[in-house]
């Protein structure tokens, strides 16, 4: 057994009647990577907030390098060598990288900031761990991946020996995530101890040495990575067997949407470059690609929020101009936006209000909102789509991500739709919710909807889509039949290599 860097002993924490942590113990050795696996709401973040002194536990103790930490003091945790990389970064976009890193590291009453010394230390750390940053850059100008590097460097700058990362890949693209995990492994080799919180089985299996599984606030299992597998972990995490739904054979109907040579220029940049695709009834077209390659504009094209700079569109056999949002709704196009918190729902409003907002005209009479009718509709959404955590009149903000997504799906699919646009529908959801969302999308397909699925998750696209096109730098590859492709070929297509692609049957 290697030297123990961190030990958490029988920690419990209650919030009102909810038990967030129930008698949890775990330990991390020096140079070890430990994963804390659990669904949303399992108590992972609470436990780490106790470790970092943000919360005071009801009982239990935290020992770092043989020294017990006082409860509720972030300062003591920092000084003992605990560094935390939050899921939502604790950074100031208007300050420079160096300023973000050195805040609070000097006595506040010194008469001069030791900027030169700080820059040297930062550059040395960035060199040692391969985390490239430029100290003078304004933080807000950096990409999300670079910002995370700054967040990690900030912890290292405080001489952290134990680094806690809360869902580090939630905001990263696949490539950035792979690079980050390589860095983490390198850090562990250099003697740092790492805890990372996750609900993604792949990254846990690929990176961790040991895995602790939390469920409903309890520690349910501890496994060495060699002694377990994804299926077992999934079952431990959810508490029952979860299987993602399986797509049955496709039986496409007629073409309901066709786009040719579409170009979109936004902010002076050509986001879509002469792309073409079509959607058929009862079929899912998967568009795979790393975020930021034009997916957003593709989704907007069908959602009525984009203006074309060229190209033609046909819906149900008729040529159409730029769609307005009202038109897309009237045409029966269902939309699941990429960012459910900002575009999909208004957190401060009730579930029933969110459910009817996009079709307010149908739910009002004589200039007044027909509350009864709206509530009845929301009740159907909640019941039929199994939205848990609130009734029609509770505030939408209180729903978990998965349940909010089910509400958005429900409001689109309670009445069958002819076209459904789903942009990153399962992003950030836990295993149980992913299965539920996938099931609903497949159900829409069975009922004859033409689905455009935009995703950067290879597994998701391979599981759901009948035809697949890759999007790279605003260009779409020709479509391939899902049965005739594999992850290797799709990976190549995602990097822009599609010369040898065997096209799916042309129209």
């Amino acid at each position: 057994m290697t030297e123990v860097a961190l030990e958490i002993r029988s920690v419990s924490k209650r919030f009102g009647r909810i038990v967030a942590n129930d008698n949890i113990s775990l330990s991390v050795g020096k140079g070890e990577i430990v994963a804390l696996l659990g669904e949303n709401g399992a108590g992972k973040t609470t436990l780490m907030n106790i470790l970092f002194g943000h919360y005071v536990p009801d009982q239990g103790s935290v020992t770092v390098l043989g020294q017990e930490l006082p409860h509720g003091s972030p300062r003591a945790a920092i000084q003992a060598g605990v560094g935390m990389v939050h899921q939502h970064f604790s950074l100031a976009p208007n300050l420079t990288v160096l300023e973000n890193v050195m805040t609070g590291t000097q006595n506040l009453w010194s008469v001069r900031s030791e900027t030169a010394k700080a820059r040297e230390k930062l550059l040395a750390l960035s060199e040692r761990f391969g985390l490239q940053v430029s100290p003078e850059a304004r933080l807000g100008d950096l990409s999300v991946g670079e910002q995370q590097r700054v967040e990690i460097l900030k912890a290292l700058y405080n001489d952290a020996r134990i680094l806690v990362l809360d869902e580090p890949t939630a905001v990263l693209t696949n490539i950035e995530a792979a690079r980050m995990f390589a860095t983490l492994k390198d850090m562990a080799r250099q003697g740092l101890s790492l805890i990372f919180i996750s609900h993604k089985l792949d990254e846990v299996m690929a990176t961790a040495d040991r895995i602790f599984v939390l469920r409903d606030g309890k520690s349910v299992a501890e496994r060495k990575v060699g002694d377990t597998n994804k299926a077992e972990l999934a079952e431990l995490m959810v508490g029952r067997q979860v299987t993602r739904p399986v797509r049955d054979a496709s039986n496409p109907g007629s073409v309901v949407f066709q786009a040719e040579n579409i170009s979109i220029i936004r902010d002076g940049i050509e986001r879509l470059k002469s792309v073409g695709f079509y959607l058929r009834e009862g079929e899912i077209l998967g568009v795979i690609g790393v975020s930021g390659n034009g997916q957003a504009d593709l989704a907007q094209l069908l959602s009525g929020t984009a203006r074309r700079n060229g190209g033609t569109m046909n819906i149900f056999g008729e040529a159409v101009g730029d769609l307005s949002v009202a038109q897309t709704i009237a045409l029966g196009i269902g939309r699941i936006p990429e960012d459910r918190n900002h575009e999909g729902a208004i957190g401060e409003m009730a579930i029933w209000e969110n459910a009817i907002l996009e079709r307010l005209g149908e739910y009002s009479s004589k200039g007044f909102v027909d509350r009864k009718k709206g509530m009845a509709f929301a009740k159907r959404v909640v019941d039929e789509f199994d939205v848990r955590g609130g009734g029609p009149s509770s505030r939408t903000r209180l729903l978990s991500g998965g349940n909010m997504q089910k509400m958005i799906l429900g409001r689109n699919l309670v009445e069958p739709k002819r076209i459904l646009v789903a942009a990153q529908p399962a992003r950030g959801l836990d295993e149980g919710a992913v299965a539920a969302v996938h099931e609903r999308i497949l159900e829409a397909r069975r009922k004859g909807a033409a689905v455009l699925l935009i995703s950067e998750d290879l597994d998701e696209v391979m599981a759901l889509a009948d035809r697949i096109q890759a999007i790279v730098g605003g260009r779409l590859s020709p479509p391939v039949q899902a049965e005739k492709t594999d992850s290797r070929q799709l990976g190549l297509m995602m990097s822009g290599e599609w010369s040898g692609v065997e096209e799916a049957d042309a129209l």
Binding site: S90, A92, L95, E99, M102, R112, S113
Partner: protein, 314 residues
């Protein structure tokens, strides 16, 4: 045209610019410090009024002039404390609380003034600050009269701007203040107490506002009227935006506004008769709005400005 040239080359204009600018410099720096930590302080108009009254009253009752300024600063700090309790601890709307402080402090000034000073035909006066004689510089032709025959608080104002710029951009404390104004949660994660930083900044900033007011009764004039601040506080709030939250630019902005103001007063006498003088009164404000619109478009507002900080909430 030659009249305009005469005005611009008169030492009197430039001396007036510095004098008019002094309360604006103090007030703008005070508001700037509050906002850098994330708290908008609309109490400024009332705090300046109270500072003008209490500073004057102290001197009227026998204190010396510097003690008068100090008393004004302390009372400004007390109103700052009140504003902090409401906006930082209780997390109430900073607009509403600030306007409340302004209304309360203004009326309270008049109340105290009437309690302490009997009604009289001509308001009582004190002996104000006198211009400082600086060896060599004051005796320079033109420049001596234009720039080096000011009262001591004017020089203090300029030094304060330089000191505040240094503190904000060159010290660990300044970085902590800026971080608190940008993202108090990040500041907390680095072991800084954002609540304490905000209290400190609002109290110190309000003290500067108190001094700004006291300058009016102890240097620019020698007596107190309840309406004498005349919207200078609001000008300061605008100047903070004009200055993009930078003390050096705050100094520049205050001087620019004062230049317009000093210039229009003199222009009135030259062009009186042909143009109604009210038109000139509007001029500095119109030019300020134009300058503000031009300068502030690219300003980077402190991201946490007007957002209350609560532990454990995001």
């Amino acid at each position: 045209m030659s009249e305009v040239f005469d005005i611009l080359t008169s030492a009197g204009l430039w001396a007036a610019v510095l004098r008019i600018a002094t309360p604006l410099i103090f007030g703008t720096l005070g508001a700037l410090l509050c906002e850098r930590s994330g708290v908008l302080n609309l109490g400024i108009e009332g705090i300046m009024t109270f500072g003008a009254m209490i500073g004057w009253l102290a001197v009227y009752n026998g204190a010396d002039l510097w003690t008068g300024l100090l008393v004004a600063a302390i009372c400004g700090g007390i109103f700052g404390f009140l504003h902090s309790v409401l906006t930082v601890t209780l997390g109430l709307s900073q607009h509403v609380s600030g306007l409340g402080v302004t209304l309360f402090a203004s009326s309270f000034s008049y109340y105290v003034f009437r309690l302490m000073v009997p009604v009289a035909g001509t308001p009582p006066t004190v002996e104000p600050f006198q211009p400082v004689d600086i060896p060599l510089l004051t005796s320079l032709p033109f420049f001596g009269d234009a720039f080096f025959s000011q009262t001591a608080p004017t020089y203090v104002a300029i030094v304060t701007a330089v000191v505040l710029a240094y503190v904000i951009f060159r010290t660990p404390l300044g970085l902590a203040i800026r971080m608190t104004g940008e993202n108090p949660h990040a500041a907390e994660a680095q072991g800084i107490n954002p609540l304490a930083v905000r209290y400190g900044c609002v109290i110190a900033g309000s003290a500067l506002m108190g001094v700004a007011g006291a300058f009016l009764t102890l240097s620019a004039f020698n007596s107190f009227f309840p309406t004498m601040v005349q919207g200078r506080g609001w000008i300061c709030i605008a100047l903070v935006v004009f200055a993009s939250w930078k003390p050096s630019r705050a100094l520049l902005g205050a001087l620019l506004f004062s230049f317009f103001d000093g210039f229009q007063v003199r222009l009135q006498t030259v062009l009186s008769g042909s143009v109604p003088y009210q038109l000139f009164l509007m001029m500095p404000y119109i030019l300020s709005i134009a300058a503000l619109a031009f300068m502030a478009r690219h300003a980077r507002v402190p991201q946490a400005l007007m957002k209350p900080f609560r532990r454990g909430e995001r």
